[in-house]
Symmetry: C2
Subunit: 220 residues, 2 copies
Amino acid sequence: MEQLADQERSYRRGSIILRQGDRAREMFVVHSGWLHSSVVLGNGSRQIMCFQFAGDLLGLSLLAFRDVPETLTAVTDVTLRPFSRERLGAVLGAHPRIGALLLALTEAGRVSLADRLASIGRTPARARVASLLCEIYMRLRQSGQAVDNHIHLPLTQEDIGDATGLTSVHVNRMMRGLVEDGVIERSGTQIRILDEKKLCAEASFIDRDDIDSGWLPGSA
Amino acid sequence: MEQLADQERSYRRGSIILRQGDRAREMFVVHSGWLHSSVVLGNGSRQIMCFQFAGDLLGLSLLAFRDVPETLTAVTDVTLRPFSRERLGAVLGAHPRIGALLLALTEAGRVSLADRLASIGRTPARARVASLLCEIYMRLRQSGQAVDNHIHLPLTQEDIGDATGLTSVHVNRMMRGLVEDGVIERSGTQIRILDEKKLCAEASFIDRDDIDSGWLPGSA
DNA sequence: CGCACCTTTGAATGAGATCAAAGATGGTGG
DNA sequence: CCACCATCTTTGATCTCATTCAAAGGTGCG
């Protein structure tokens, strides 16, 4: 399905792949590594919207807007496979099923963003941090990147703050609290989930079903 | 394009069209009226995600999930035109262009949600209220429902609070402040934008381009 | 006209921000 | 291999914005 992409491209940790406001050229499939998309506001503060892992699609906003609405930053070293809008258009024309599948994926992304919005808008700091950890943990586990309740979290507390709408100082206190209460364990960038149930409960975490593709039109 | 829908259905102001957690049956096109989609968390608080007006699509999450993730509530009396997933699937199979267009629309919805997330996560109360007013005003104006800088806002301050992550008490104080500073004017559910520039500036409002559909595959 | 709901206002409280500075950590170059 | 420097984490004190609680006006619908 994703032979539509060109050859791989590599970026260093910290690189900016797309900058908000730039004219968009292409979209990407993540081949390896972590990224996040964020918005920087007039007052200089940053809101991280979501994190992307291997297999995720980047820059689909190009489908709707000429100018990139969100900055894409590499959290770790990454490799991406770019593809153009025209190429995607051709594929969609030939394979309607792929269009429908993309539609479902995008919609799932929207729901995930909505869940984060509820977390930030309506829960206290500790729940927001728990929610972020929970979401990342679940996603990594689903793609086999969580071994034994144990994940690699290459984010600074500043990053976590920008994703949860908190200051890094307060993130520190909340994480510390989660450790003290035996919910998680930390050493460096490694995190172990000691009490998944409690973590999910504190986060008001909603575990969404897997994507349901039974309705898709027949493949062409 | 939207002959795929069945006959119109009417709902009273305050009705719940879809309830989170229910098994989804169908999607809708808004024919007339206002709605909003929201999530209620375990602690009883509610986060309103977005508002829908005539022409908007409802319940697309059915494309990805069996269970409805967000509650859909009628803000005013509304009329909707339902359509099924299978019907949409058939249309997509026959007209890839429509799939691509839907993809662009959904992506635009995602970006709009991201803008709200930035507002709630990273701006103070007054900016959040300004941002919500700004967004609603722009959307209504685009669909010709704003006459002379003047809109009908059928929301309680509680609603506005649930959309901005604030309490209704604080929303009241912020709105009052905007009035005192000559940014808006209110009487009942009517709102007049006196200083659009100032409103946008306070809101860190980002006016997105119109949707760009030049790349779509040829119609079938 | 009366009742339900919404808006407005004030005072007290509290969660999270801000400011500042002292430890850790790790990557880099010598 | 070690030392150094930049970056990140941790901690404390103080401040402030927003919440909470409570009660008094408005408004419109039945």
